[in-house]
């Protein structure tokens, strides 16, 4: 037990060392604004990917409306800082909480649905959220809201760390195992006495909360937010991170979020072919490796096998 706690803190310390090195490179201008901005964007995308991973990968609930919660977080936090003059940190939390509440409101009725129907219902909810913002003049309607730049490497890194720590610990807790059992077989889980609705909604609310946090970072990094930024193509982008990485694999979601953000940034030079390549990769992965890059395995499984044995959280069809 003592050793476990020690390694946990060791990892946190290492993460902070990593953070410190990057911060040093940024402040000495070795990393120029383009790269530091890409790093922030990567952090935001990882938060989005990991939060959706909890819903789809762990709990097995197919939501394709994640952009709706991103939009809520973005708008609420922007209203907090721009209209009410609150500090950025408070705005982030507020964005997350409102998104989580929306997740609760959306989740309770729609999580009764399954598979495709749930997917379409969540897509519908996300569109409705977007149309609501489009029609509210207080937040600028279609023209959008101008937001000051407040997101830094520090804030986005801290949010990322928080997201990963919370979601990893949730997954490894009793609640996480209940969620996994729902993914594997909902009826069986129900029969085992697991309150499936409760766990599905809980996972959905936590996922929405972090999407809201990501929204706050997003709004304060890109100077302007508009309803068009949060259409269903945005939801698909996030979905693709999770699917490409492997449904049920957190490290997979992280890797593909990093990979796709970098690829997408560099494909800006090839505007006409960018979307073609992007969609082709998606289809190819689905056809030839439908379990995604990692399946349900984590990256630690690859080199850690000989060291320790443990019961894994994923099903084995990928491996």
């Amino acid at each position: 037990m003592l050793k476990k706690v020690n390694t946990f803190w060791l990892a946190i310390i290492l993460a902070f060392v990593f953070y410190g090195v990057i911060q040093l490179l940024i402040s000495t201008a070795i990393i120029n604004p383009f790269y530091s901005n890409t790093l922030i964007f990567i952090c935001i995308n990882i938060i989005l990917a990991v939060s959706l991973h909890l819903v789809i990968g762990i709990t097995g609930q197919f939501s394709i409306g994640h952009a709706g919660f991103l939009a809520l977080g973005a708008y609420i936090s922007a209203i907090m800082t721009m209209e009410l003059g609150m500090p950025f940190s408070l705005a982030l939390v507020a964005g997350g909480i409102v998104a989580a509440l929306a997740g609760l409101v959306v989740g309770i009725p729609s999580l009764r649905l399954r598979g495709d129907y749930l997917a379409i219902a969540t897509l519908g909810f996300a569109e409705i959220i977007r149309i609501i913002f489009l029609n509210i003049d207080y937040v600028g309607g279609a023209a959008g809201m101008q937001v000051t730049h407040a997101t830094t490497w520090t804030t986005s890194f801290l949010c990322l760390l928080l997201t990963i720590v919370v979601i990893v610990n949730f997954t490894n807790s009793r609640h996480g195992r209940a969620c996994i059992s729902i993914r594997e077989n909902e009826i069986a889980a129900d029969a085992m006495g697991i309150n499936t609705t409760y766990y599905k909604v809980t996972a959905f609310v936590i996922g929405s909360f972090f999407a809201g946090i990501a929204g706050g970072l997003y709004a304060h990094n890109f100077y302007i937010i508009q309803p068009v930024n949060f259409g269903f193509l945005k939801s698909f982008d996030i979905l693709i991170f999770v699917v490409l990485g492997g449904l049920g694999s957190l490290s997979g979601a992280v890797i593909s979020a990093i990979l796709l953000t970098v690829v997408s940034t560099f494909l800006q030079e090839l505007p006409e072919t960018r979307m073609i390549i992007y969609s082709l990769v998606l289809v190819m992965v689905m056809l030839y490796r439908p379990q995604g890059l990692m399946g349900t395995r984590e990256i630690t499984d690859y080199f850690g096998k000989w060291k320790w044995k443990r019961i894994k959280g994923g099903n084995q069809y990928g491996g």
Partner: protein, 291 residues
């Protein structure tokens, strides 16, 4: 009088949704896949018709037939290349593939011809009839007629022909159908061919009626048609048509009250309400999932 006019506006909008929803509902009925590509087949059909009319000088009906043929082939190719492999994988994988293929087709078309819209040539005479003080265009009557006729033909195919029987069998239980000597692959391909041909027809008619076509034109009608199909009970042919009409009328009524900006939101709210309270749709029978 304004309300009578609005009702007719709603029906003519709904008949377009119905036309697209017919193909959607057939494909979903047999492989239980939300075929996002349907909207793109619709777009390809529309462009095929456009090129046939504008560059080869074909008339309306030859173009319609040509476009239906092209789309039928196109649909079967998509099914064979992309979906067949995924028949036994997860629903999520299939849905994501559908999204991927649909993006791929959109952007290949943009790559080839650019994103600018195209205006359909005038191939059908359009007269405005004045019936009891409401303005009815002859084209919208034609669309209404075509949707209903196609629905009857489809209903006939599915319920009175051999291939229709095979389709129903595959939809009910693919494994059992196979054991009974039905060629499941061919049946699924036939369904895709028919569904895609319908999308092609809808594309040409849409082009003639609304004039404007562009590579991204399939997204919104595709989603709306899906909503119409769910509304009527997905997999049920008359349901798709009725669902289309109901959706068209609801959207028009929302606009008529001055909430035109909430029209799409209204469509999605209907979808969600239907999914939550009556997931099998207006015409569907409720079925419980068995262990």
């Amino acid at each position: 009088m304004e309300w009578l006019q609005q009702l007719f506006n709603g029906i003519s909008l709904g008949s377009i949704y119905a036309l697209i929803a017919l193909g959607y509902t057939m494909v979903y009925g047999i492989i239980k896949l939300i075929n996002f590509v349907h909207g793109e087949v619709f777009m390809i059909g529309s462009f095929t018709g456009f090129y046939a009319i504008a560059f080869w000088g074909l008339g309306f009906f030859p173009s319609l037939v040509l476009s239906m043929t092209v789309c039928a082939v196109f649909g079967v190719v998509i099914e064979r290349v992309a979906y067949k492999r995924l028949r036994n994988s997860t629903r999520i994988a299939a849905l994501i593939t559908a999204i991927g293929v649909s993006l791929f087709i959109q952007y290949v078309v943009i790559y080839i011809r650019g994103a600018q819209p195209e205006a359909y040539p005038n191939v059908l005479p359009n007269r405005t009839l004045d019936i009891f003080g409401i303005q009815i265009s002859s084209q919208s009557l034609l669309i209404l007629l075509v949707s209903v006729v196609l629905m009857i033909i489809l209903q006939f195919i599915v319920h009175r022909t051999k291939i229709g029987k095979a389709m129903r069998a595959v939809s009910f239980d693919p494994d059992a159908a196979k054991l009974m000597g039905i060629n499941v692959n061919n049946t699924i391909s036939a369904t895709f061919a028919i569904g895609s041909a319908l999308a092609g027809a809808a594309g040409v008619i849409f082009g003639v009626y609304y004039t404007k076509i562009d590579p991204l034109m399939g997204i919104i009608p595709g989603l709306k048609a899906f909503i119409a199909a769910v509304l009527g009970g997905i997999g049920i042919i008359p349901g798709a048509v009725v669902g289309g009409f109901v959706l068209g009328i609801v959207e028009t009524v929302v606009s008529a009250f001055g909430f035109s900006l909430w029209r799409d939101a209204a469509a999605f709210i209907i979808l969600i309400l239907i999914l939550i309270f009556r997931p099998s749709g207006i015409f569907g029978k409720n079925s419980k999932e068995k262990v």
